[in-house]
Homo-oligomer: 223 residues x 2
DNA sequence: GAAACAATCTAATTATTATTAGATTGTTTG
DNA sequence: CAAACAATCTAATAATAATTAGATTGTTTC
């Protein structure tokens, strides 16, 4: 085999991964799967698309070996094939954010004003959370919290937040986070809590971003 | 704008980068550009494709903001729009290598047997190069060496290697590197030198891989 | 074993993208 | 300013991919 043909083969393989990353729906699937394993149904509901379309996109991700499946009764459960896949998603998003003005503009238009964003660096945030100077809440669904969450964070799913207001302090700043910069859960939590007079800000990181920055997360022991 | 539409916009933007990474030719262009800026002609020659096809792919990369151009006389010079782009390419390749058996198989079939690969970790290699216990040679074209190269490496372009054999030691191990694991220059250098009785091994890293590992490289001052 | 349900498969339509080759634009050089 | 050259543009064709909806495959539950 000549050198050109050999090289073509190599880049062809990497392009399989690139192709998998070339669809918005598949990217969103990866981000949701980065929070923990999910059924096809749950994923379709999360993206608000037909189960059959979700299944087709998941098939593409599986053929690129970015996700793997296992069967649990009548459910098919998908998960990322490795932590490096979440890292790749984060890196891709970071490059997009760094170079695409359109993305930054779109992000700003849906996100809180900068004042409501946590401005501390991550190590400092961690230290304050450890000391109890701030309360970090994880507003994702509980199963995602259980899979992995930031150190010192407590679970406070958005769906339950209104019933559990008495668990939150009024004399201390609250920091809410969710799945990452594209996730609107913490945004919504922020608005609901601020309306009720809590001092609350938002951390745009999710677990994957936190981990990509080299910081530790707390994980459930493997099943 | 409702939440679904807002989210769709965000993932759509990131998918622009993913689409740019979905073609083998564009990936190869990125890898070559990670070695330094190049004209369209040079890139087309490197990939062995028509200039017009190269131009079309470069246009796609430019629209995804992964590359930028400047004009120099009648030449149009392309370069990566940032170091993060090279980092993304490396990460993408690493994920592909980790998950795609086909890629690992293809790599093995074109690369030297494992004995000829450097097995030291990078820090150790750096230390030995500093001490002069090994000689590190950069077999890429000279302009790429000048843009950036590994610490303590000397330039020894493959095209000149046969004329400059007397500059290489026979009493000390030589380590050759090129553009990265997909580049065959160091492979070719290895064969030519081994045939002449040099003790030579290959480092599969290129400058981007080295840098992605957090290690320092030597760079020409910006023009 | 039949009904219910999750997921996938198939086939059709629509939309994008890659590639090729001729025509054109912009820049330098004599 | 004409010739030479680099690069891009345009238009045509071929190849791939996204989406939709009906049919089918597994698995559980009664």
């Amino acid at each position: 085999m000549d050198k050109r043909t050999a090289k073509d083969l190599l880049y062809e393989q990497v392009a399989r991964i690139g192709k998998a990353l070339s669809s918005p729906k598949r990217l969103e699937l990866l981000e949701v799967l980065a929070q923990g394993e999910k059924t096809v149904e749950a994923l379709a509901a999360e993206l608000d698309i037909d189960v059959r379309l979700a299944s087709a996109h998941l098939k593409a991700l599986r053929e690129a070996r970015l996700v793997v499946t296992r069967r649990a009764g009548k459910y098919m459960i998908y998960r990322l094939s490795g932590g490096d896949v979440a890292g790749l998603w984060v890196k891709l998003r970071e490059v997009a954010e760094a170079h695409l003005v359109e993305l930054r503009v779109a992000l700003q238009s849906i996100t809180a004003d900068p004042q409501q964003l946590v401005s501390l660096d991550r190590a400092e945030l961690l230290e304050q959370a450890r000391r109890g100077a701030i309360i970090v809440i994880d507003v994702r669904p509980q199963d995602e919290y259980q899979t992995a969450h930031l150190p010192y964070a407590r679970s406070m799913p958005l769906a339950e937040i209104e019933q559990r207001l008495d668990e939150l302090p009024r004399d201390c700043e609250i920091v809410a986070y969710c799945r990452g910069p594209f996730c609107l859960l913490s945004e919504e939590a922020l608005q609901r809590l601020a309306r009720r007079g809590f001092r609350v800000r938002k951390l745009s990181d999710g677990v994957s971003e936190w981990q990509a920055a080299g910081l530790p997360v707390e994980r459930a022991a493997a099943a």
